[in-house]
């Protein structure tokens, strides 16, 4: 993919500063409106009826008792929904998605595939009556055998979920390979030969537990039909247009009939990119003629939304005794959940690609089993793949007698090398980052006690470009209205305004930055894949260029000269003054031009829809110190430093915040989070008591080192920053545990029970029952 570099560096006026976000005031005063903060007159409350069985055929649903309960206004089942017009739709960047699967996942038609799968929904005057009504819906099931272990799911004779299926295509398509699994194979060179050349080979197998994004805000939606058959949806989502698209498909509506209003969103991390409740609320609203709000409980979120894959992996990597990697063979079984389309492709693509390994085979499987449909979680698939590879890399480094970072430096991909899929690597700063790790005081600080160890890990993630739209309107007083379609998960309204301020040469405080609904802005892809600051920013810069051009036209009119004689100082001086090329004393400020828009042709505005390709990739590294209590297996993280190259840090504190937030999610993934299903196939830990996410007492301060190798694909050098932080922590922790107490952990989470088992195994004690 050869592109003209877009990068045009200059002295930044706004980028790199740390202004306070304007929308933050509503958030600290409790005024910001999230999905559940919607209250409409006459509103009903909906509640979902869910299967308690992990796999069953629906024989009969009797809604009569539920309908008879006072206060209940409607009950729907899968039979209330129209057949789909289009079974499969494209989903950006070569991916595709099965609408039938999405529709069936929202409400089952014939078969339920996991504990919590929706089978019916009720609407009632208040949430308590709705809950009572839901309990009165009688569902007769024919219970089927179920499967929840990826290894079992790919065996001959395994329980089969779907007689037929559209193989998953998340980023890359998989091919149907087994009754329950699509397959993705990547290969380069000749692994057999490669392993023959290897002096040292390490082979390990791993299991990692299913984990959830853990956003603190659940899923909530409110739907209202207007008398002209127009549906309005208020919901917290990462992509209002995606919600609109899915609703149109499932309800058989035209896209222009639906308006999705994105509320403030209380966390998403990839898990809020699809409809769950929305089609149900819309259908209930249609049947009752009243607005319907539906909200998931925490248990429903954990059971019936989209966690990230649990996995089984076999990793075999070989190197020469001088540390040169020669061969890698990965067998990856990644959960897809109830329907195809888990993250095996991005996981496989990111597993090795930060290293130059000439001989590689990756055999990856998208495995269906009776768990909720797997969804993206912040660099989907990459954390699992990174954990299994980086711990083996660590072992190889040790066996070669090389320093952990030196081993990685020796093999790191640099600009000009090729990724496993053939794409050339642009400059992303791998060597600089690894050297920064080695030079950092943390790397050589004394550990200060027994049973303490230090581990490192190094990670890579792609990130996305995709489509973003924006509008810039110049007001008569020179202030700016900036509108985009990008849901703001963490402060992107501000970082986009900062790019606009830089591109327009106006004060940041003059810009009002807002997130528009689907009726009010051009198509914008979801806020996912670390794309917002990169792709929406790109669109803004292009729109700003159009605005500047128009302003130049106005100046030309005012000066009665040719527009070719008008220069704008925005790129040279950072502020937008307009200067006569032939007479430098003739100058107008942006505000002065704005004041005269009316007389020179009317308001100035520009829109732009961009689909930028120069994504730039993301890299990160961690240094992690732990202390292990060998009597209990408890691992305490003592110190953590996160390194990342972000191209250009628009708002350095926000970048650090992404690094810290992702690191702590990674630490939870490493040490305490994981789904636990009981023998009946039901999720046992469906509350935040037993789905254990890190508290403030569990983690130290997260020190951050931000590096900036400009992304040549973006005018300001920006690369996405939001995802890669979650990728290296589990491996860093595992490598630290090894150095602390001498055991190589091969399971996630590395809970105290798991560490104890590993310590006992090392001491030669017999293995006991599988731990949580």
């Amino acid at each position: 993919m050869n592109m003209e570099p877009e990068y045009k560096p200059r002295k930044w006026r706004v980028l790199g500063t740390t202004p306070v976000r304007r929308d933050g005031i509503d958030k600290v005063t409790g005024q910001a409106k999230f999905g559940d903060d919607v209250h409409l007159p006459d509103m009903l409350h909906g509640k979902v009826v869910r299967s308690p069985h992990p796999h069953a055929r629906i024989k009969r649903i009797d809604i009569s008792k539920a309908m008879a309960l006072p206060g209940v206004k409607a009950v729907i089942t899968g039979a209330d929904f129209p057949p789909l017009n289009q079974a499969v739709v494209a989903a950006g960047e070569g991916g595709s998605v099965s609408m039938q699967d999405i529709a069936d996942n929202c409400i089952a038609k014939h078969t339920v595939f996991y504990d919590g799968h929706a089978v019916a929904a009720v609407a009632a005057e208040n949430p308590h009556v709705a809950e009572e009504a839901a309990a009165l819906v009688e569902v007769e099931y024919e219970i089927l055998p179920f499967i929840q272990d990826v290894r079992e799911a790919v065996k001959d004779g395994a329980v089969v979920l779907h007689d037929d299926y559209v193989p998953g295509a998340f980023l890359f398509p998989t091919q149907k390979a087994l009754p329950n699994a699509g397959r993705l194979q990547l290969a380069a060179g000749d692994v057999e030969q490669g392993f023959k050349e290897a002096d040292i080979v390490v082979e390990r197998e791993f299991t990692t537990a299913t984990v959830h994004q853990g956003y603190i805000e659940s899923h909530i939606t409110t739907c209202r039909w207007d008398s002209d058959q127009h549906l309005t949806v208020w919901t917290s989502t990462q992509g209002a247009f995606a919600i609109r698209d899915f609703l149109a498909s499932i309800l058989n509506l035209q896209l222009s009939q639906i308006r999705v209003i994105p509320m403030e969103i209380g966390g998403g991390f990839g898990g809020k990119d699809v409809v769950y409740l929305d089609p149900l609320a819309a259908m209930l609203a249609k049947k009752t003629g009243r607005p319907v709000k539906m909200a998931m409980t925490r248990a429903e979120v954990l059971k019936a939304t989209g966690p990230s894959s649990g996995t089984y992996c076999r990793v075999k990597i070989g190197c020469k005794k001088d540390g040169t990697l020669v061969a890698a063979d990965l067998y990856l079984l990644f959960e897809a959940g109830a329907y195809p389309g888990g993250p095996i492709a991005p996981g496989a693509l990111c597993a090795l690609t930060r290293y130059n390994i000439p001989n590689v085979v990756i055999d990856g499987y998208d495995v269906m089993l009776n768990k909720p449909k797997i969804k993206p979680y912040r660099a989907p698939g990459a954390t699992q793949a990174n954990f299994v590879v980086e711990t083996v890399i660590d072992e190889l480094a040790e066996k070669c007698g090389l320093d952990a970072i030196d081993f990685r430096l020796k093999n790191a991909t640099v600009a000009g090398d090729r990724l496993i899929i053939g794409m050339p690597v642009p400059p992303i700063g791998t060597v600089e980052m690894l050297q920064a790790v080695k030079k950092h005081p943390h790397y050589t600080a004394p550990l200060g006690g027994p049973n303490r160890g230090r581990g490192v890990a190094y990670a890579f993630w792609f990130g996305a470009g995709l489509t973003s739209s924006c509008e810039i309107h110049v007001n008569a007083d020179g202030t700016i209205n900036l509108a985009t379609g990008s849901a703001d998960l963490s402060g992107t309204r501000m970082t986009l305004a900062m790019q606009a301020a830089e591109a327009l040469g106006v004060p940041l405080d003059d810009i009002s930055s807002s997130v528009s609904d689907t009726d009010s802005i051009g198509y914008t892809f979801q806020s996912v894949g670390s794309r917002t600051t990169f792709a929406t920013g790109y669109a803004i810069i292009k729109a700003a260029e159009k605005v500047i051009e128009q302003m130049k036209q106005r100046v030309a009119m005012i000066w009665e000269t040719d527009v070719a004689n008008v220069d704008c100082t925005v790129e040279s001086a950072g502020v937008a003054d307009f200067v006569d090329r032939n007479d430098p004393h003739r100058r107008l400020h942006f505000k002065q031009v704005a004041a005269r828009m009316d007389e020179t042709g009317g308001p100035v505005s520009a829109d732009y829809t961009a689909n930028p390709h120069g994504v730039g990739f993301q890299i990160a590294a961690n240094i992690c110190d732990v202390e292990v209590d060998p009597e209990t297996g408890k691992v305490q993280v003592l110190r953590f430093t996160a390194f990342q190259d972000v191209g250009k840090a628009v708002h350095p504190d926000y970048v650090a915040g992404q690094m810290q937030g992702g690191a702590v999610q990674g630490l939870g993934w490493a040490l305490s989070e994981g789904y636990w299903y009981n023998k009946d196939g039901r999720l046992a830990n469906s509350s935040l008591l037993d789905y254990r996410m890190p508290t403030s007492l569990d983690v130290p301060m997260i020190d951050t080192v931000i590096l900036e190798t400009p992304n040549l694909g973006h005018p300001y050098g920006i690369r996405g920053a939001g995802e890669v932080p979650i990728v290296p922590p589990p491996a860093a922790v595992a490598n630290a545990i090894y150095r602390a107490v001498g055991v190589r952990m091969t399971t996630l989470p590395m809970s105290p029970g798991a560490v104890l088992e590993a310590l006992w195994a090392k001491e030669g004690k017999p293995a006991s029952v599988k731990v949580a």
Binding site: K27, H39, F269, T695, S696, M701
Partner: protein, 161 residues
């Protein structure tokens, strides 16, 4: 269905009354009866702190209190902490120190931190982390959030001096 009870409370310093069925939590009463949506629901079972309020000055999870239990009691919510023109030092610190990202946990943390600083005006990092361990944040990783709380403590100590 039990009849609704008439509850009289003091809410953010003002007398306030509302009707609630016994089964409606204080959280529901605040959000869905009185339409004060600043206090958030995260788990509804006492494990995340998003619903933190002060009840008679004591930090509690409002999801674990019935609305009817608030009879005769005083409630403080984030709506009473400060306004855009007159932000509480905690609110100011959360803004300046980037102590929040998505903001859903922020009201809960603000009320919990308020209770902390009332009791312990100059907490150490460890003391702050221990006190706030009942409030979950998934976005920030706690680093800047804790720093914001400690900074607010310092600011308030200076103002008091």
């Amino acid at each position: 269905m039990a009849k609704k009870t008439h509850v009289e409370t003091t809410l953010n310093g003002e007398p306030r009354e509302f009707l609630a069925e016994p089964r409606q939590s204080l959280l529901e009463s605040l959000r869905d009866v009185m339409f004060l949506t600043g206090t958030k629901e995260g788990c509804n079972d006492g494990n995340c702190g998003a619903c933190s309020v002060l009840l008679d000055g004591v930090l509690v999870n409002s999801c674990c209190v019935l609305g009817v239990e608030a009879q005769g009691r005083s409630i403080e919510t984030v709506e009473g902490l400060g306004t855009a023109d007159n932000l509480h030092p905690l609110q100011q610190a959360f803004l300046e120190e980037t102590g929040m990202q998505c903001g859903i946990c922020t009201p809960g943390f603000l009320m919990a931190a308020k209770a902390l600083l009332q009791k312990n005006p100059n907490p150490s990092e460890d003391e702050a982390r221990l006190w706030l361990a009942g409030n979950l944040c998934r976005c920030t990783g706690y680093d800047k959030l804790i720093r914001a709380v400690l900074k607010a403590g310092q600011v308030m100590a200076k103002e008091a001096a």
